[in-house]
């Protein structure tokens, strides 16, 4: 059987790539997609431990995380649309004002 730590290493790799994406890209949409990648990496962890303990609690929490990801994507993309309508940009380092 595949040991659990291989799942953890996969999850860690995806998580690190997601963190790199959030920290280094300028495009806000790519940053949001990297956040989705991070949440997905957490889900892999939860599923592996759920399988390891033989209970479905981890899967239930993965459902909650997917719910959170959906809510976050909806609100975040709404904010991006509102910002793009006003400033004509999707770059994070030009989002430096609170009011216009």
């Amino acid at each position: 059987m595949i040991p659990v730590d291989h799942y953890l290493f996969l999850s860690l790799a995806l998580f690190t790539i997601g963190v790199i994406g959030v920290l280094t890209r300028r495009n806000v949409i790519i940053m949001l997609m990297s956040i989705e990648l991070i949440l997905n990496a957490v889900n892999i962890n939860l599923m592996a431990f759920s399988r390891m303990w033989g209970s479905v609690d981890g899967q239930v929490f993965a459902i909650f995380i997917i719910t959170d990801a959906a809510a976050e994507a909806a609100v975040g993309l709404g904010i991006i649309l509102a910002f793009f309508r006003n400033r004509e940009t999707v770059l994070a380092d030009e989002m430096d004002i609170l009011k216009w």
């Binding site: 890209r25 997905n40 993309l77 793009f84 770059l91 380092d93």
Partner: protein, 169 residues
């Protein structure tokens, strides 16, 4: 059985990691979205390999079919051509990438140090198709209150998205 399982796991892992790297580095946002969809589908395959059939379907329908369609929809609404010609990485990209790698190395060390205590039980060949029922049982009895809170969260997010995307804020 074991060989097939391993082949599936390592194939989906390599697919997920490769397309995640491509997703972070692509210049075109639509390409990045497509590579993120590939990563999510590979993750769904890993869920199936972990015998979590319900989460596999949820991942495919909700993540790939719902959230990613929302992303592609917004990508079509914002101006793609202008942002593609600009510099894609910010000024502190080297420091930020190095810090992220250090964070990854730390967690890697932690997992490596504690890996002796992690063992997956052997897979039963004649597994009963009860995964969805078990998830539903847990969701509607033990986790009833978090379930209701999640539904309220979705309602709030829906109202927030409508307000944010309105023409006049």
């Amino acid at each position: 059985m074991y060989v097939l399982n391993s082949i599936l796991f390592y194939f989906f892992s390599a697919l997920a990691i490769a397309s995640a790297i491509l997703m972070v580095t692509r210049r075109n946002i639509v390409h990045a979205a497509v590579f993120l969809i590939t990563t999510l589908l590979a993750t769904a395959g890993i869920f199936l390999q972990l015998q979590a059939e319900f989460l596999f379907i949820v991942q495919v329908i909700l993540y790939v079919g719902g959230i990613m369609v929302l992303f592609v929809f917004v990508i079509m609404l914002v101006n793609l051509d202008v942002s593609m010609r600009l510099v894609q990485f910010n000024r502190q990209w080297f420091v930020a990438g190095a810090l992220a790698l250090v964070l990854g190395a730390q967690v890697l060390f932690a997992v490596w140090a504690g890996r002796a205590s992690l063992r997956l039980p052997a897979m039963q060949v004649d597994i009963s198709p009860k995964n969805t029922e078990a998830v539903a049982d847990a969701l509607f009895s033990k986790y009833m209150l978090p379930f209701e809170i999640a539904s309220i969260l979705l309602l709030v997010a829906m109202i927030g998205a409508v307000v944010m995307a309105k023409r006049r804020v």
